[in-house]
Symmetry: C2
Amino acid sequence: MIESLDAIAGVGRDPGTGGYRRHVWGDADMLLREWFASEATARGMDLVEDGNGNQLAWWGSGPDALLLGSHLDSVPDGGAYDGPLGIVSSFAAVDRLSAEGFEPSRPIAVASFADEEGARFGIACAGSQLTTGALVPARALAQKDRDGVTMAEAMAARGRDPRAVGRTSWLADVGAFVELHVEQGRSLVHSGAPVGVASAIWPHGRWRLDFCGEANHAGATRMEDRRDPMPAYATTVLAARRLAIETGARATFGRIEVEPGGTNAIPSRVSAWLDARAGDEKDLSRLVTDLVTEARAAAAADGTALHLVTESVSPAVRFDGPLRDRIAATLDAPVLATGAGHDAGVLSAQVPTAMLFVRNPTGVSHSPEEHAEDDDCAAGVTALTEVVRDLA
Amino acid sequence: MIESLDAIAGVGRDPGTGGYRRHVWGDADMLLREWFASEATARGMDLVEDGNGNQLAWWGSGPDALLLGSHLDSVPDGGAYDGPLGIVSSFAAVDRLSAEGFEPSRPIAVASFADEEGARFGIACAGSQLTTGALVPARALAQKDRDGVTMAEAMAARGRDPRAVGRTSWLADVGAFVELHVEQGRSLVHSGAPVGVASAIWPHGRWRLDFCGEANHAGATRMEDRRDPMPAYATTVLAARRLAIETGARATFGRIEVEPGGTNAIPSRVSAWLDARAGDEKDLSRLVTDLVTEARAAAAADGTALHLVTESVSPAVRFDGPLRDRIAATLDAPVLATGAGHDAGVLSAQVPTAMLFVRNPTGVSHSPEEHAEDDDCAAGVTALTEVVRDLA
């Protein structure tokens, strides 16, 4: 299983940072698609790529299938496990059952969902959201990357037809989905368990805050004469942290663009992306409302303005209760909630869905430092194998 | 004269912002070099490009020359006047004197200094600093742009020899330098004068502050478990403004880079460039020291670290007293200081140097909104013509 991760360890890895840059329809993504296809072929599984770029490898066919899998793409400078661990573990579970001569009572499929991180076009879980209809094709196709390339253009450049984007027929054949994923926190460390079962995903969203002022000379313009948008952004960063700590929520500014971006020019615009999550929708909504109120006040005090764009908001996900309880009992595994979004959260709106987490010793994720011990990865494969044996 | 500015109005202008992006050794810069060469040729002036990429057009030759000129490059999204106004005004003054049959008693040259804004490689006044020896060639040549291209590579790509960079022999032939420039403030508006004479340039510098933390998942990492460098940056932005206002200085953060730069990733690093200026060296030094002390404390409180890199520090410039007084008397013009750096400030260390400023109705500069009225530009040409007539 770790061998299987090793096979793609060099794909999309930045030699400077050691982190992965696997973004949808980029060169690394295309290599990973070829790797997935060859893994399917090697097992005699039928390969399908749907109109959204999701890949599926089928063991059998027909209704009420048991779907496994995760994603292969990464955040900028992401780790080796977030996504790929679920896919290699799914193939490994198929191998183990197949070697035992296990004959499943229902079709089994392994999925690689496209663009889970949304690193290139700004919409997380784009592949799964398009599949369920949660994301409107026109909106997705018009999204631009940092170079101004739309998703439609990026697909066409790889020979994919943007008109094929949208709801897919294969979803009607899925009776249940189980996604295995590395934990992105330390709950399992505290539990002393290598594998856990998900209870829920926090509601979360992304907002773009455009602080707009006036460019001017950094040396010749008196502080009193400026309409500099940067201090209001700074005030907002500090307010976000304070509000998140006060409410037990999470708020992050991890991406920012400054125009014109010269050392000796006062900015005309600071665009900053807020990632916020909270235990329930009401808390999340209040956090963002309170933060924007403070940000607007700070901007107005400086003669600048704030424009808010809501890029995405995902409601809380509570995974299928009977499926969660059955898996937890089968594995004797702890049950935990997470602040991270997943394709499993998207599919859970239409299909009974469960998640397995594999222990992360440091809790670090979305970083080159992300890690899981080999023994824990092996325990993940064993757990997923048992789940499939029980459900299929 | 305005016609002359019109001739290059389309070069390097971004259609979206309306601002100029004329950066050294880029496509726009090469077109401007051709334009300068053709202006020299059209007047029968001898064209020289020195090893640093500075262009000079000579009317006569030999020692004790009177040098005019400015620069053609811009900050990102800069205005049409900052730099080019001085060059077109210099050519216009030459034209006017030449048409009158004026026979100068000394050689006259018009210079276009390379890379005054330092927008691409981060060192302001690189062309003039290399010429005087204030900047060591090896340091300049190793500077990288945002794509990792060194100045040496950028020069070589344009057929220039990086080994030719350094002190130039032509400087020994210069007896005085007069740079005309659009004002980057509103002193002349308050004075009610279209043209003024510079007394001094404030000391100024550029520092890069690298706030280093640890990348992690924006959703799954508790606020208490983060080592996020962004809040310390935010605290530093607000401290910079407060300290600058308290001390009558200027401090700006106009450029920032965030790694890894994903919306759902806590940053591992925030690099921010501080531009700071003050009335004298002691005030500037204290401002930066106090700011860095606060920044380090904020970083340490968050379990992050600050690394400081001093990119450049320019001492105060006090322009040649007798030359300043003679010009101010000739023109009956007001005398003013500026917070903006100029090639004139660099050359003043080795050559009697003066500056003329042309009124800027809004004071806005380093912005597409930068403007000067046609009548004031014409007054600038007249003033420069009178100065040349008096000095040559």
